[in-house]
C-alpha cells in the first residue's frame, strides 16, 4: 500500500504532471511568526485531539515571511492562516488584494511581554526605557545639551545612570530579522528616545531621521546578536552573570530558577503586570484568516472557535500556561464576536 503510493508519487513527479496532487487539502495550513508559533501549536494540537478534523500544519516562517506566503493567492496551495507578532501593514493588505486575497479576518489573541533579564547570580536590574535607549542606541544625544548626536560613548551602566551598577554594558538580543527585536526597538528604545524633549520634536519635523536615531542599535560590541534561539540566550546569561539578555516572557517563565527579569520603569515583568498593561514592553499578537478558504478547507471555523474559546485564550486558559498574556475580558468578547460574524479586517 505504502510502496504503491510511493511509486505513484514518484511517477507523478517524473511525469511532471503533478498539478493535481495539490487539488484537495483536508488539513488547515498555517504559517507565520515564530513568537506566535508556541501558542498556535498548542491550540492546533488540542483542536486535532478533540475534534474530528486533522491537526493543522503550522510552519514557523516569521511574521513577514508568513504574510508574504499568505498574500500570494487564493487556493489550496496557499496557506489559510498566518500568525503575526505585529499588525498587518497597509502595504501587505495591498499585496494581498492584488493577488485576489480580499477578505481577511483579523484576530488579536493576546499579548507577549519582552523581558530584559540577567542571571540570578547577580542583583536584579532596574532600568528605565530611557536608560535602555541611552545604553543601546548607536548615536545618543550629546550630553552637553547642544541638540546634536554623538556616537554612543557609554561603556558601563553607571555611565548611563549613576544609580546603576558599574558593570560593562553587554546585552544579548535577537537579530534584526526577529519580530522580538522589532518590538523591543519600537517599544523600549523608541519609548526611551521619546522622553528626550527635542528628539520627540524631531518626529514631527523629520520622521525618517527620528526613526533612524531612535531605532538603530549600537554595533560596537555592546549589543550582541545571539540568534533567534531564546534558549541559547538563557544559557549564555547563566555563563556570563554580568550580561543582560532580551527575549520573550515565556522563556523567563520557564527558566525562573536561572534568570530574573529586570524592572523597566519600576515594573517587574510579571504575568499580572503585563496583563494589566503596566509593564511597558509588551506587544499584541495576531493571526489572519483567509475568508475565501472557509468552506473549501475543512475545519477553519472550528479552529477559530477553539482559539477564541475561554478554555484556550481565557484568563485561566491553556495558552496562559504556555506564557501568553490574555487580553482583558471585554476585548476578548469583542474579538470573539467579530470572529463569529467573520468580520473583515479594517485598517
Amino acid at each position: 500500500m505504502i510502496t504503491n503510493r510511493l511509486a505513484l508519487g514518484v511517477a507523478l513527479a517524473l511525469s511532471a504532471s503533478a498539478a493535481s496532487a495539490a487539488a484537495a487539502r483536508d488539513y488547515i495550513s498555517i504559517v507565520g511568526s515564530s513568537t506566535v508559533y508556541p501558542f498556535a501549536t498548542v491550540v492546533a494540537e488540542n483542536f486535532g485531539k478533540t475534534s474530528s478534523f486533522k491537526t493543522p500544519k503550522i510552519e514557523s516562517t516569521g511574521s513577514g515571511g508568513g504574510l508574504k506566503l499568505f498574500c500570494s493567492g487564493v487556493g489550496v496551495e496557499y496557506p489559510d492562516i498566518t500568525n503575526a507578532s505585529r499588525r498587518i501593514k497597509s502595504s501587505e493588505v495591498e499585496t494581498c488584494a492584488s493577488n485576489g486575497v480580499n477578505d481577511i479576518i483579523e484576530v488579536k489573541i493576546g499579548y507577549d511581554g519582552i523581558v530584559v533579564a540577567n542571571s540570578k547570580d547577580t542583583g536584579q536590574f532596574a532600568v528605565t526605557r530611557k536608560d535602555l535607549y541611552m545604553a543601546l542606541a548607536k548615536d545618543v544625544p550629546n550630553p552637553d545639551g547642544s541638540e546634536t548626536f554623538i556616537p554612543n560613548p557609554f561603556k558601563t551602566w553607571k555611565d548611563v545612570n549613576a544609580s546603576l551598577p558599574e558593570t560593562g554594558i553587554e546585552v544579548l538580543g535577537p537579530p534584526p530579522t526577529s519580530g522580538t527585536r522589532d518590538a523591543f526597538v519600537e517599544l523600549a528604545m523608541e519609548g526611551g528616545c521619546k522622553e528626550i524633549g527635542w528628539v520627540k520634536g524631531m518626529k514631527k519635523s523629520d520622521k525618517n531621521a527620528y526613526k533612524a536615531r531612535c531605532h538603530s542599535i549600537r554595533e560596537d560590541g555592546a549589543f550582541i546578536e545571539a540568534g533567534e534561539n531564546d534558549n541559547l540566550i538563557v544559557q549564555k546569561l547563566q555563563a556570563n552573570p554580568s550580561a543582560l539578555g532580551i527575549f520573550g516572557f515565556s522563556f523567563l517563565d520557564q527558566n525562573s530558577d536561572k534568570v530574573q527579569g529586570s524592572e523597566i520603569d519600576g515594573v517587574a515583568p510579571t504575568f499580572e503586570a503585563i496583563a494589566d498593561g503596566s509593564y511597558p514592553v509588551s506587544r499584541p499578537l495576531y493571526f489572519y484568516v483567509k475568508k475565501a478558504h472557509i468552506g473549501s478547507v475543512p475545519g477553519i471555523q472550528e479552529y477559530l472557535s477553539e482559539f477564541t474559546s475561554d478554555k484556550a485564550w481565557g484568563d485561566e486558559g491553556y495558552l496562559t500556561d504556555k506564557g501568553m498574556i490574555p487580553m482583558p475580558q471585554e476585548e476578548r468578547a469583542k474579538f470573539a464576536s467579530d470572529v463569529k460574524a467573520l468580520k473583515n479586517l479594517e485598517m
Binding site: 488539513y27 492546533a44 496551495e77
Partner: protein, 441 residues
C-alpha cells in the same frame, strides 16, 4: 636507533666520504627531532579531534539519556458508568467523546482528600499529563467491559513533575524560584512512598508524533517523514546517478562538452544545500504545484543534493576497474553494453553503493533545504505517505531546541542520539560493504 649505529660505524671506519658523514651526523639529531615533532603534532591533532567528538557525545548523552524514561504515576481509576455512559448503550460515539479527564480528576481527589481549595485542586490536576485522558479513552474503546470497575492505571506525569522526579529541578531553591510548588513536591513524595511513582521506558518517544507537551512529544512522525523522504531520494538518485556515471565514464566521448559537464557536477557538489531548497521551492512547488511540506518534494530536493556525490563516487568506482577487464570482454565478442553491464558494473557496484549510502547519510542529516519547502513545521499526525505533510529528524531537533519548555532539552538530545545512531549505522554499512566486496587490483 639502529640507523644511528650504522652511521656511527661508518664514521668509525672513516671511509672516503668523511665530510658527507659528518654533515649527515650533524643534521641527524635535528632531522629526528623534526620527525618526532611532526608525529607528535599529528597525534595531538587526532587526539584533539577525538576529544571534541567525545565531549560532544558525552554532553549529548548526559543531557539526553533521561528522555528514554518517563515518569508514570499510578492512579486507581474507577471507570464510572454514570460519567462515561449514563445511558448504558455502550455506543462508541458516546464513549469516545466522554469526559475521561473527569475520571483522572476524581482519582486524584480520592488520592488526596485533604486538598480542598480551588487553586490547590487546579495544581493537583496538573500532576497528570493531559494526554492521560486519551490513554483512558483507548482503554475503554478497546474493552468497554471495564466500565464500572476500578483499575490501577499508570499514567504519564506532567513534564514539570517529570523534571522534578528526574532531578532536573532543584528542590533546595526557594519556592518562588522553582516551577514546582512545595505542595506539589509534598504530593509527589507522598505518592512515591506508596510506590505510585515510577520511571518507565518511554515507548511513546519513538511512536508518537510531535506535541507541545514534552511528555507526549515523540519522534515517530519525524522518523516516518525521514523514511519517506529518503525512500524518494534513493529511488530517484541511485538509478539516475549510476546511469549518469556509467554514461560519462564508459560511453561519452571526451570533448569540451563532457569536460563542461564534469566541471559542473563537481561544482554542484559544493553548492550550499539551501540553494537546492530555493530551487525546489521555485520548480517543484511553484511551477509543478506539488504540495508544500511533503516528503515527495523533500526527497526531490535532496536528490538534487546527493546526485553529485553519487555520480562522483560511482565514476571513481568505475575508473578503478582495470581496462584489461573491458578489453577481455570486448575481445571475446561482447558488445559495449554487455561489457559494461556484465563485467564492469558488478565490479564497481560496492564502490557505487558506498557512495550512495554516504550520500543518503548526508541527506538524512540535512535540514536547511527543507526550510524553504515548508518541512520545518509543527506536524502532529504521523504521515501515511509521501504526499502527507511531515518533518524529518534534524528538523524536529531544530524545532525542539527552540521550545521554551525545560523538558524539551533532554528530548532534543535524545533525538540527536537517535539521529546519530542512524548515521553511525549507515556509515558502518558503507565501511562493511567496502571492506567485504571491494576488489583491488
Amino acid at each position: 636507533m639502529s640507523c644511528a649505529n650504522i652511521v656511527n660505524s661508518m664514521n668509525d671506519s672513516n671511509t672516503n666520504g668523511s665530510t658527507t658523514v659528518e654533515k649527515v651526523n650533524a643534521s641527524l639529531k635535528r632531522r629526528y627531532a623534526r620527525e618526532r615533532r611532526f608525529r607528535r603534532m599529528g597525534l595531538s591533532a587526532v587526539m584533539l579531534g577525538l576529544a571534541f567528538v567525545s565531549l560532544l557525545f558525552l554532553s549529548i548523552i548526559g543531557n539526553g539519556y533521561s528522555a528514554f524514561q518517563q515518569t508514570k504515576v499510578r492512579l486507581a481509576i474507577s471507570f464510572d458508568e454514570q460519567l462515561l455512559d449514563p445511558s448504558g448503550e455502550r455506543n462508541p460515539k458516546v464513549l469516545s467523546s466522554a469526559d475521561y479527564n473527569g475520571l483522572i480528576k476524581n482519582a486524584l481527589r480520592q488520592a488526596f482528600p485533604a486538598v480542598q481549595s480551588r487553586q490547590d485542586k487546579k495544581e493537583l490536576y496538573r500532576l497528570i499529563s493531559n494526554g492521560g485522558s486519551f490513554r483512558l479513552r483507548e482503554m475503554v474503546l478497546d474493552d468497554p467491559a471495564i466500565i464500572g470497575t476500578t483499575r490501577d492505571v499508570w499514567l504519564s506525569a506532567d513534564d514539570d513533575i517529570d523534571m522534578l522526579v528526574k532531578g532536573h529541578i532543584d528542590r533546595n531553591l526557594t519556592e518562588d524560584d522553582r516551577r514546582v510548588k512545595d505542595s506539589v513536591i509534598a504530593w509527589i513524595d507522598q505518592l512515591d512512598q506508596q510506590g505510585a511513582v515510577d520511571l518507565a521506558f518511554n515507548a511513546g518517544f519513538f511512536t508518537s508524533g510531535d506535541s507541545r507537551e514534552p511528555e507526549q512529544a515523540g519522534i515517530g512522525g519525524a522518523i516516518m517523514g525521514s523514511i519517506y523522504t529518503l525512500l524518494v531520494t534513493l529511488v530517484l538518485s541511485f538509478p539516475i546517478g549510476v546511469a549518469a556515471a556509467i554514461y560519462l565514464e564508459e560511453f561519452a566521448p571526451q570533448n569540451r562538452w563532457t569536460d563542461l559537464i564534469e566541471v559542473n557536477i563537481n561544482n554542484l557538489a559544493a553548492v550550499p544545500s539551501i540553494v537546492f531548497g530555493l530551487l525546489g521551492l521555485a520548480v517543484f512547488i511553484n511551477f509543478f504545484g506539488l504540495p508544500r511540506s511533503a516528503p515527495l518534494v523533500g526527497g526531490l530536493v535532496l536528490t538534487l543534493m546527493t546526485l553529485p556525490t553519487i555520480i562522483i563516487a560511482s565514476r571513481a568506482a568505475l575508473k578503478s576497474v582495470p581496462p584489461s577487464i573491458r578489453e577481455a570482454a570486448l575481445g571475446i565478442g561482447a558488445s559495449r553494453m554487455q561489457m559494461v553491464f556484465h563485467h564492469v558494473m558488478p565490479l564497481a557496484m560496492p564502490g557505487m553503493l558506498t557512495g550512495t549510502i554516504i550520500g543518503m547519510a548526508q541527506a538524512l542529516g540535512e535540514s536547511a533545504p527543507l526550510l524553504m519547502i515548508g518541512m520545518v513545521a509543527f506536524i502532529v499526525d504521523i504521515p501515511g505517505g509521501p504526499l502527507d505533510p511531515s518533518t524529518v529528524l534534524p528538523v524536529q531537533i531544530f524545532l525542539w531546541a527552540d521550545s521554551p519548555e525545560r523538558a524539551f532539552v533532554e528530548r532534543t538530545s535524545a533525538a540527536i542520539m537517535v539521529l546519530l545512531g542512524f548515521l553511525i549505522v549507515m556509515n558502518l554499512l558503507a565501511v562493511i560493504l567496502r571492506k567485504r566486496f571491494e576488489r583491488r587490483w
